[in-house]
């Protein structure tokens, strides 16, 4: 029954037909995951850099915790956000459960530790390399943050892509907080789960191929931007 052949032809047919339901699912997937990565980056890049530069009691505990949270199961993150946003929960008033916003919140929680932990590690390495020069310039640690982040930008691009990979690939969290509602919160990964549960394996695999192609495209664009920038700098 199932051959990779008909999965590829299903994927191709889907793409060529420009199915409007498929397009809205793809757009929502991208919106949710890119938004989550953007918010997580805005918070965790400075956070990771600060963690690299400052020494304070309990710092190692924070580092270990961040590293451990990189492995947070998506379904656990989803459950926490569900309990938070549920009407019976502390933020229930906001009425955000089963909306794309809830999905963004859940993915931010998943992506944030990854970007923060890897940024911390990159910036720390860079800092130990250039500590003398930076000190001789008389920069405060606060002023060092943007300098070091800028210097580490090519490495950090990969860090952000790792975060994006986590966001676009996960299904456990968005399934719980989004509810996989047709036309409202259905994204690529939840569609794949749904098609699998219907036994429509070629369709599920076809969607998987499209998702993979999309993620590859985004990675290629990021890579090209990075390479071009590097060349310009000489």
């Amino acid at each position: 029954m199932l051959t990779s052949d008909n999965a590829f032809s299903t994927a191709l047919t889907l793409i060529l037909s420009m199915d409007s339901a498929l397009i809205s699912i793809v757009m929502l997937s991208l919106q949710v995951s890119l938004m989550a990565v953007l918010i997580a980056s805005l918070i965790s890049l400075p956070l990771g850099a600060a963690l690299a530069l400052w020494r304070f009691p309990g710092r190692n505990v924070v580092i270990v915790a961040l590293n451990a949270l990189m492995g947070l199961p998506p379904v656990v993150a989803g459950l926490c956000v569900y309990l938070l946003l549920s009407r019976a929960g502390p933020l229930g008033e906001w009425g955000l459960l089963f909306t794309p916003t809830a999905m963004v919140i859940a993915q931010v929680i998943l992506v944030l530790p990854i970007i923060a932990a890897l940024t911390r590690q990159q910036v720390e390495a860079l800092h130990s390399e250039y500590a003398e020069q930076l000190n001789s310039l008389g920069l405060t640690r606060l002023r060092m943050i943007p300098t070091l982040l800028w210097d580490a930008r090519f490495g950090l691009l990969t860090v952000i892509l790792a975060g994006f990979g986590r966001a676009s690939a996960e299904v456990g969290a968005v399934m719980i907080v989004g509810g996989n509602i047709d036309g409202v919160t259905r994204v690529m990964t939840t569609s794949i789960v749904l098609e699998t549960s219907k036994g429509n394996l070629p369709m599920a695999l076809g969607l998987g191929i499209i998702l993979l192609a999309l993620v590859t495209m985004i990675n290629a664009i990021a890579h090209m931007i990075g390479e071009t920038a590097k060349r310009r700098l000489g």
Partner: protein, 269 residues
């Protein structure tokens, strides 16, 4: 990272979101079961309801156990589930004010086509399940506290069998994944007819037992309590609740077919 670009992206994404959220304010969230969603019933009947009332219905398809939990927490405006005993308890506990019969379908037992337990000529479902247990043929159970799982467990109890041992495998999954797994391990399983007929990956599985009255699977609609959850869209939910049992709603359910086969039988009083 260019700050302006980032800000523009953030703005655009934000706007798109608010647009998505504001697009239709006239909607209710319905917690229902995977069997109704996977068979395509909602795609067939919701447009008729929306056209008549201008109200959209957003379906969150979960197991019946989880649907009750969503209802208890006030996260859905309406419930359409299939566990009559559980639904009556839900009303008795004050979470819902009314429960109405909407429709029924039936459960069937599917299994490997060579039928190692020989259940195809069983007289009753009890007999069929005893044969499976006695021959210790692999049986895949949902094991997820869904309506189907609860019905299956009640039948084991009626059959005087304690389902445990190497042959009895609790999967903790929805109906679709359970069918996929049963097909993979050549196991018997207990499924609602709608999911089975709409299922595309049966491999060697085939329908082996059907037709016993004990396999009757009743669906009920619950009108949630306005007192307990005042924030819910009770007016719109009541329209849906009443439409389901109206002549038009019942006809829409009866008209829904997969491969020329009617899957749900309206039976509102």
């Amino acid at each position: 990272m260019n700050k302006t670009t980032a800000l523009i992206t953030a703005g655009t994404l934000g706007l798109t979101f608010s647009a998505t959220l504001m697009a239709a304010d006239d909607y209710i969230t319905l917690a229902s079961t995977t069997s109704t969603e996977n068979s395509g019933l909602f795609d067939a009947i919701i447009p008729a309801f929306s056209e008549e009332t201008g109200v959209d219905v957003r379906v969150v398809a979960v197991g019946t156990g989880q649907a009750f939990e969503i209802g208890r927490r006030g996260d859905a405006d309406s419930l359409l589930v299939h566990d009559t005993a559980g639904e009556e308890q839900f009303v008795a506990d004050g979470y819902a004010t009314e429960r109405l019969n909407v429709m029924y379908n039936d459960f069937v037992i599917v299994g490997p086509s060579d039928d190692p337990a020989g259940i195809h000529d069983s007289e009753t479902v009890i007999d069929a399940m005893q044969r499976i247990a006695e021959s210790e043929s692999p049986f895949a159970s949902r094991g997820d506290d869904s309506g189907t799982n609860r019905a299956e467990l009640r039948l084991w109890e009626d059959a005087g069998v304690t389902p445990q041992g190497e042959w009895y495998r609790e999967l903790g999954s929805g109906m679709g994944p359970t069918l996929n797994t049963a097909a993979g391990m050549d196991a018997y399983t207990f499924t609602d007819r709608a999911t089975w007929v709409a299922f595309d990956n049966p491999q060697d599985l085939t329908l082996l037992f059907e037709g016993d009255e004990a396999l009757f699977n009743q669906y009920g609609s619950l009108l949630l309590s306005a007192e307990r959850h005042p924030h819910l869209k009770h007016d719109l939910a009541a329209q849906w609740h009443e439409w389901l049992v109206s002549d038009k709603g019942q006809q829409a359910i009866a008209d829904f077919e997969v491969d020329g086969q009617q899957l749900f039988f309206p039976n509102a009083e």
